[in-house]
């Protein structure tokens, strides 16, 4: 990390995302910081803007106004090389988005080889090591279509890790999974959190948010309604809207 270790890794300031002029305010003046080693869970009802917020962090959504600073660089500035920054921000999607025409090993080594200039041998050694961690080393030469949903998502996580990112963004990583496969994916994420990986997780898994997150952000209508430790959010919250939401999902 280039910045001093006590500064934020990602700093979001007055972030706005409007559609149709200013008719739909997907993000309405969001400000928050993410510090190194933090696991931030973003919760809220559907349509609250939590995925939009996460996708703005690596500019898959281009914000209408506001700034996002990552490792001291304003990523919303036109001068920033967003492709370079994205190499350091891994992303895991709801629908895995593995590349179906490539084997698991090629899925994982494509970006390190083409973008970081790693040799085939080095990239594969690293990929196999990561595959071993998620207990999928024996599937290295399989194609994505041969894997279960839980396996695909574990591959998607280690594919992102192959780029040695400084932060991992998760966009509802367990929402497309059969219930019995949610656990295996959450376990991988818990291990990552333990190893000190900085993570921002949009999730409907309140158990995960409560157990693993160091901070929880509750969003509604494009605004951060309340944020705090899992303890503050889940144990006897006094915010009315949060209470209503939790009553529905818990």
């Amino acid at each position: 990390m280039k910045e001093s270790n006590n500064g934020p890794l990602i700093s979001i300031k007055d972030l706005k995302k409007y559609y149709n002029g200013d008719e739909i305010k997907a993000l309405d003046d969001i400000s928050t910081d993410i510090y190194p080693g933090e696991v931030v869970a973003i919760i809220g009802p559907s349509g609250s803007g939590k995925s939009t917020l996460l996708r703005s962090l690596n500019l898959l959504e281009r914000p209408t106004a506001g700034t996002i600073t990552f490792e001291g660089e304003d990523i919303t500035s036109p001068k920033t090389d967003i492709n370079k920054l994205r190499q350091k921000m891994g992303m895991v999607f709801q629908h895995f988005n593995l590349f179906p025409h490539l084997t698991i090993l090629d899925n994982m080594t494509l970006a390190p080889r083409k973008l970081l200039g790693m040799s085939k041998e080095d990239a594969e050694a690293k990929a196999l090591e990561l595959l071993d961690k998620v207990a999928l080393k024996d599937r290295a030469n399989a194609y994505p279509s041969q894997l279960s949903g839980g396996q695909k998502q574990r591959i998607a996580i280690v594919r992102a890790l192959c780029m040695s990112p400084d932060v991992l963004l998760f966009d509802e990583p367990t929402s497309a999974l059969d219930p019995e496969m949610v656990g295996e994916v959450l376990d991988v994420m818990k291990d990552l959190a333990k190893d000190g990986m900085t993570m921002a997780v949009v999730t409907h898994e309140m158990g995960f948010a409560r157990e693993v997150a160091s901070r929880v952000i509750f969003m509604e209508s494009g605004k951060i309604v309340i944020e705090g430790s899992p303890d503050e959010i889940f144990n006897d919250p006094d915010n009315e809207r949060l209470k209503t939401f939790l009553a529905k999902v818990l």
Binding site: R62, H95, N97, F99, P100, H101, A111, K114, S145, A160
Partner: protein, 250 residues
């Protein structure tokens, strides 16, 4: 009568005479053989020109459709708009007029000073095919889930790299049958080359017919040769298709 059983039936004798008259006499088979080479030459180079043009136009059009909404105003956006407009005009004109007319316009108007009939035919058929290939390739690119695109970009690949490593390989597999069909159409379409006096295979057969006043042999021969070429090519494509498919599920 010992020779009776060896006597050739009258109809077979007639067929033999016809064959001799149309192909052997005066070395008339040369018209078909030389014509076949012209047909193959024109088709081969027109296919290459068509693919190149098609891919370029398809990338312009799908880039425009995908990115124009997210682009900041500036030179890049203006250039993309202009390129897209040119591509649209090209597609409309080529797909809205018969290929024979295009060929004659190319030969008698645009390249009126040129005497190289093969080159003019290659350009005319190549530009014609390019329009159809462009729409096939574009539909292939658009058929790939946007998540694939986002996954590529989130790893740090730029737009072009994402296209080359992730989108095009998947799109190619999807459009292979449609592309093969386009080339089958093309090789048969070159049979109108005679309109500008180019002696392709069809013209060759027709010249024989006009010399011998016998239509059956030369025209059926020409038809059979087209049929064999198309069947051979179809077989080749179906083998390639099977190869590509098995690589995904072993």
């Amino acid at each position: 009568m010992p020779y009776l059983c060896l006597a050739i039936p009258a109809w077979l004798q007639k067929l033999r005479d016809e064959f001799y008259l149309n192909f052997i006499d005066d070395d008339r088979y040369q018209y078909i053989l030389k014509g076949l080479l012209v047909t193959l030459e024109v088709t081969f180079f027109a296919v290459i020109l068509g693919i190149l043009l098609g891919i370029i136009v398809a990338i312009i059009r799908s880039t425009h459709d995908k990115l124009i909404g997210d682009m900041r105003p500036g030179a890049g956006k203006a250039v993309l708009r202009i390129l897209n407009a040119i591509a649209n005009v090209y597609l409309t004109i080529i797909r809205g007029t018969p290929v024979v007319v295009q060929l004659m316009i190319a030969y008698f108007i645009i390249f009126a000073t040129s005497n190289n009939k093969v080159l003019v035919a290659v350009i005319a058929f190549g530009f014609n095919s390019g329009a159809y290939v462009a729409e096939i390739v574009r539909s292939g690119i658009m058929s790939i889930d946007n998540g694939q695109f986002e996954a590529g970009r989130s790893l740090g690949f730029n737009y072009v790299q994402t296209m080359i490593y992730i989108i095009i390989p998947q799109a190619f597999k999807n459009i292979l049958p449609a592309l093969a069909n386009e080339f089958i159409v093309l090789i048969k379409e070159t049979s109108v080359s005679g309109y500008v006096g180019l002696q392709d295979m069809t013209k060759g057969g027709d010249i024989i017919r006009s010399r011998t006043y016998s239509a059956f042999m030369p025209l059926i021969a020409v038809a059979l040769i087209y049929l064999v070429i198309v069947m051979f090519f179809s077989k080749l494509v179906s083998i390639l298709e099977r190869r590509l498919r098995t690589s995904e599920r072993k």
